[in-house]
Symmetry: C2
Subunit: 198 residues, 2 copies
């Protein structure tokens, strides 16, 4: 009881929500979604299950919140790119904006998605948000009437952080190092897109 | 009975084995491993379950065979790279050798691994073969005392085909187009590795 009160005074609601997501994705990735209970997440968070329930009524809702946040980010980046003057370096600036916005939270989400593709694909409503958001962004950056292979290269540039996380599995590289390499990879893709007629 | 005989005269044992793998990975990827039975694989292949059993006693064995083949390929490429004279373009030639050897079969395996990472990670004995093979290859190509971030870029170059498959999910790109883009991506990584001090 006393602990609950302490928690409430120490953390604001949105902080608790963000931290619940963090702990949930760590547990989902490490031990699988099925083996993780809302009770376990609440315990790790030091709050009651009822308090957690206030933010997330189910594990599904936690996963959906991830896609929703990332989908919004992709939509915001597209809005930004649309208001910029069309220029040869817009692709590079947009791609770097996407990669540089990679936080530890985002990496946690990517690791979760890499570890649970079947679940992610099964959640059509949720995962469609980020997929469609990224797709619209890629299409805008690739340009009208872009060749499908050019579009794939733009997608790969945006997903370079996902590729870096995948390639870094099993290594002891830090998140900062992984993002730095992803940035170089993204720039390399931009270079190919600029130089080639693909 | 007659069908069985026809099969036996039409296909050699190794052809049947290869085709069983193909059908198995298609079914595993499309409907999941659990939902796929050896009986279903045999039926699609037009042979009896006993005939299939001669090649593969379990679904696990089919999955292991994939890693074993790819692990051998990585080991062969490393052997080749070791006998080549050290030259500035060895990295590029080795990476392109790996990407260019991408067959439809290999893409099927990559799609399966992308769709079932948990199972693949759980099969330590099997998946270690390809992981270790690729790791040794990457380490040799990165050079002695390579920085971990340089090593990650070499891994990304080798895995560019996996990244391309991941990015192409949901598109209507053909396998040939995906491999072509992966080749460009691999070359871009090699360019970064050559140009930078990473």
């Amino acid at each position: 009881m006393i602990e609950g009160v302490t928690e409430r005074t120490r953390r604001t609601g949105s902080e608790t929500k963000a931290q619940a997501q963090r702990i949930a994705f760590e547990l989902f990735t490490a031990q699988g979604i099925k083996a993780t209970s809302l009770r376990q997440i609440a315990e790790r968070l030091g709050i009651s299950k009822a308090s957690l329930y206030y933010h997330f009524a189910s594990k599904d809702e936690i996963v959906r919140s991830l896609f929703s946040v990332r989908g919004d980010e992709a939509a915001e980046l597209l809005d930004w790119a649309r208001t910029e003057k069309p220029a040869p370096d817009l692709l590079e600036r947009a791609v770097l904006r996407w990669v540089d916005s990679t936080s530890v939270d985002k990496l946690r989400g990517i690791r979760f998605v890499n570890a649970n593709p079947a679940m992610v694909r099964g959640m059509d409503a949720g995962s469609a948000e980020i997929r469609d958001g990224l797709e619209r962004l890629a299409q805008f950056l690739a340009g009208d009437d872009a060749d499908p292979t050019r579009l794939l290269l733009v997608r790969m540039a945006l997903l370079s952080i996902n590729s870096a996380v995948m390639a870094a599995e099993g290594t002891s590289l830090s998140d900062v190092e992984i993002v730095a390499v992803a940035r170089e990879a993204a720039l390399a893709f931009v270079g190919v897109l600029r130089g080639s007629s693909v």
